[in-house]
Amino acid sequence: MLNLYRICYKKVGPMRYISHLDLLRTMERGSRRARLPLAFTQGFNPHPRISFAAPLPVGVQGEDEYMDLELESPMQAPVLVERLNTCLPYGLEILEAREVKGAAPSLMGMVEQATYAAVTIRPADINEKSLISSIKAFMEQQEVIIDKKTKKGTKAKDIRPGIVKLSGDSKEDRLFIYMTLKTGSRENVRPEEVLRALVKGYLPLNVEEFRITRTGLYAAGERTLFAEF
């Protein structure tokens, strides 16, 4: 009997600076503090059975993140949420847990795309109209080639097919850019890759000054990751 739970959580505030590996450690330790009956892998070096949908880049916060957690004995989903939340550091919060019944596809295999919002201070020389037209011009490109750092130097990569949607607006002194990007093992575009390409020749802004939030993670057909069960 598999006691598998799919958990939606957010990783914000100071927690956006911890790496994916740190997150795994922190979730495991939080689960231990909460005295959840964690299920472990077999073998010489047992690990708790926790898996994530898609790693979040360091510095990017996530408001709609997912992980699967397996327990040795069943637990009411709301109890799990409550217990875990009292044992997680500020910036990590469980929003919802659902028991996975039957064979659900792995989170990693389900994820197809993600939505992001990036915000920065709007410079005086950019208004909503110029922003929109810049984005439009950017999206009219057939290809967007970026230099992607790999273990052996850099490699050219076309990110245009991975950009599903791109839009922007401005509220008061803030400028927002919204992205829907291919995410996952088949095709993956990172938000700062898009921003980096966008500021080069289209929007004179500093990428470092954007605060980026992943606002949603979706399976194919824009279904939520809770969809299969």
Partner: protein, 623 residues
């Protein structure tokens, strides 16, 4: 500041080093604390967060309703560059306040090669580097830790040093500070009051004149301070605050596990070892107390490993009981027990077998020297037989990798001793070939560090080998310890030499440190940052060169630069131990019940404390 910091954090390596917010970290209300102290670790976050002493003091100070303690670590070079460019001062992790806004800043002195980081952190905080330049509203800068027993190279930069164990004396320091603050006393009056606390050394009240050879020609202390400062120790280790709710880092730190300290001190008496002197006497905690503390640690942290820490955990009298208790209670939760310091004998391997179901890591032993003669000189109570039994038992139990730690450059070392290291390594490998079931993975790693003479040890008078000698010895070993299954590691000789200079130096080295910092020296313990040429230049500016202090032989009659700092073990005893060393005569461990007369117990009016209320009757004076 927040926005500026956010922007910087987006561009530096490992930003989690600088954001805090870890589980069990404590953010007290700033305005409600009458005294605010920052604990400053002069190395990166991952190193500092592995330090038990910090967790202890963090608990002690934050347990006080009138005080708060926050943490600060040395920003890595990329962060320093960005902070300086942005004009951002060094800040604490908890409240992100500039360090200069704290009342007290306490540095820990764990190793000499972190000294330039202390200067750099003061500079980044905008706190005047020299004690004499600090004014009323500047923080009080204190420091303690092992290097506090010869802190002279840092004397002009630190207002007060703490000698010995900090968990009690820190309260005295804060009390004095608060009383002085209420009475609106001057900085100098505060320092005077601090100098009256046992275990506190205020260097400004002590004046030195040195001879050409670095020893003390004349030494004066102001009339209101003790001419000799004695270290502080905790009398009852069972009745002292222990951090059972330590901060749990998010990021992978060097020691990422629960630390359960089983005892203080070590009575083995290895003659090169400073910790063996400065943490005397041995005080063991009760097994019951340890198991209770372990339970709190497990529940409050969520870590999956408990490390039984001390200078020599297999010597702890209750070790089997504690390990048994921990394994019984926690193995079903997949919580491991780790033994970081193993004695080289079969008993220790038995312990390791019990705790390490999976032989994934290697076992490490420290014979320290290659021949019995030299092991007798250093009083390392380990024989070749002990070691062979240990490794045989380890290979039989399934370990395929063994690490052996040696020291080169020990007093009286000859080529025969180096040959001894080589043949020992080969014998161990041979044993592995005969026994081990996984011959393909068989590995014997030999690490040779260079002997650094330290204050308050029987070898404090001994010179270090010259750089050329050390490098030749390294070459000798490198040529011989090679081939399938053998690995040889060694430490950079230049670093060891500077370490010895600072460990045995006097106040004349302070301007050298300052110059080295100004030339850009930082993180000197990190090979990617260490730049010997800058140090050479810094020494040169003052007409000396690296090695001048390291290579000196002091005589028993000399007044040494640290003789006014008393670790409780008498100089007479150290002298006797030095002579015995050169005669190759070993000294007994007082655990056996016979007191060798080191003087610690009568001097500090304390007793060795062993499990079950056992103690050792001290002889008043053997000499």
């Amino acid at each position: 500041m927040e926005q500026l910091l956010e922007r910087i954090l987006a561009t530096v390596e490992k930003p989690s080093r600088y954001v805090g917010g870890e589980w069990n970290s404590i953010s007290k209300k700033w305005d409600q604390a009458e005294v605010k102290m920052a604990f400053a670790f002069p190395d990166v976050y991952e190193v500092g967060m592995s330090h038990l002493g910090m967790q202890i003091l963090y608990k002690v100070v934050n347990d006080r309703p009138d005080a708060l303690m926050e943490r600060v670590f040395a920003p890595w070079v990329d962060m320093e560059e960005k902070m300086r460019a942005a004009g951002l001062p060094l800040f604490s992790l908890e409240s992100r306040r500039p360090l200069a806004e704290f009342d007290v800043v306490g540095f820990t002195l764990q190793y000499e090669m972190s000294f330039t980081n202390i200067l750099n952190m003061l500079d980044m905080a905008g706190i005047p580097m020299r004690s004499s330049d600090r004014k009323g509203d500047n923080p009080l800068v204190i420091a303690g830790g092992p290097c506090g027993f010869n802190p002279e190279p840092l004397a002009p930069f630190i207002d007060a040093f703490v000698l010995g164990e900090g968990e009690e004396v820190i309260n005295a320091v804060l009390d004095v500070y608060l009383a002085q603050k209420q009475q609106q006393c001057s900085r100098r009056d505060t320092l005077s009051a601090l100098a009256g606390v046992e275990g506190i050394y205020v260097p400004a009240f002590y004046q030195f004149e040195y001879k050409q050879d670095g020893t003390v020609k004349e030494f004066k202390s102001d009339s209101h301070v003790p001419p000799v400062v004695k270290k502080r120790v905790v009398v009852d280790v069972n009745d002292v605050p222990f951090p059972t709710r330590p901060i749990v880092p998010h990021t992978d730190v060097v020691h990422d596990r629960m630390m359960l300290e089983v005892m203080r001190g070590c009575t083995r008496g290895c003659r090169f070892c400073q910790a063996g002197t400065i943490y005397r006497p041995v005080r063991e905690k009760d097994p019951e107390n340890l198991l209770a503390q372990a339970e709190e640690l497990v529940r409050s942290t969520g870590w999956d490993e408990i490390s039984l820490t001390s200078l020599s955990s297999s010597d702890y009298s209750g070790i089997s009981e504690v390990i048994g208790g921990l394994v019984d209670r926690y193995s079903s939760e997949r919580i491991n027990v780790a033994l970081p310091s193993l004695r080289a004998d079969a008993f220790s391997v038995e312990l390791a077998k019990e705790v390490q179901r999976v032989r994934r890591s290697s076992l490490t032993f420290a014979p320290e020297a290659g021949t019995q003669r030299l092991r007798d000189v250093i009083n390392k109570g380990v024989t070749e037989e002990n070691l062979m039994e240990a490794v045989t038992s380890a290979f039989k139990a399934g370990w395929s990798s063994v690490k052996l730690y040696f020291m080169i450059g020990l007093p009286s070392e000859t080529e025969a001793d180096l040959e001894g290291i080589v043949s020992l390594a080969r014998r161990v490998l041979e044993a592995g070939r005969n026994i081990s079931r996984s011959k393909g993975r068989l590995r014997v790693t030999v690490s040779a560090s260079s002997f650094v003479p330290k204050s308050h040890t029987p070898f404090q008078w001994e010179p270090q080998d010259s750089l050329i000698e050390l490098q030749e010895k390294q070459r000798f070993l490198k040529q011989r310890i090679k081939g399938k299954g053998l690995t040889f590691n060694w430490h950079e000789g230049q670093v060891s030499m500077l370490e010895a200079d600072l460990a045995r130096g006097n106040r004349d080295l302070a301007p050298v440190l300052e110059r080295a910092w100004a030339l850009g020296c930082r993180f000197d313990g990190w090979s990617e940052c260490f730049d010997f040429s800058k140090w050479e230049k810094a020494f040169e500016c003052f007409g000396i060169k690296p090695g001048d202090y390291a290579l000196r032989r002091y005589s028993h009659e000399d007044v040494l630069p640290w003789d006014h700092l008393d670790a409780g073990v008498s100089k007479k005893y150290l002298t006797l131990e030095h002579k015995r060393a050169l005669d190759g005569v070993p000294t007994v461990d007082c655990r056996g019940g016979k007191c060798p007369g080191c003087g610690i117990c009568p001097s500090l009016e304390i007793n060795t404390q062993l499990v079950g209320g056992k103690s050792v009757e001290p002889v008043q004076d053997l000499l």
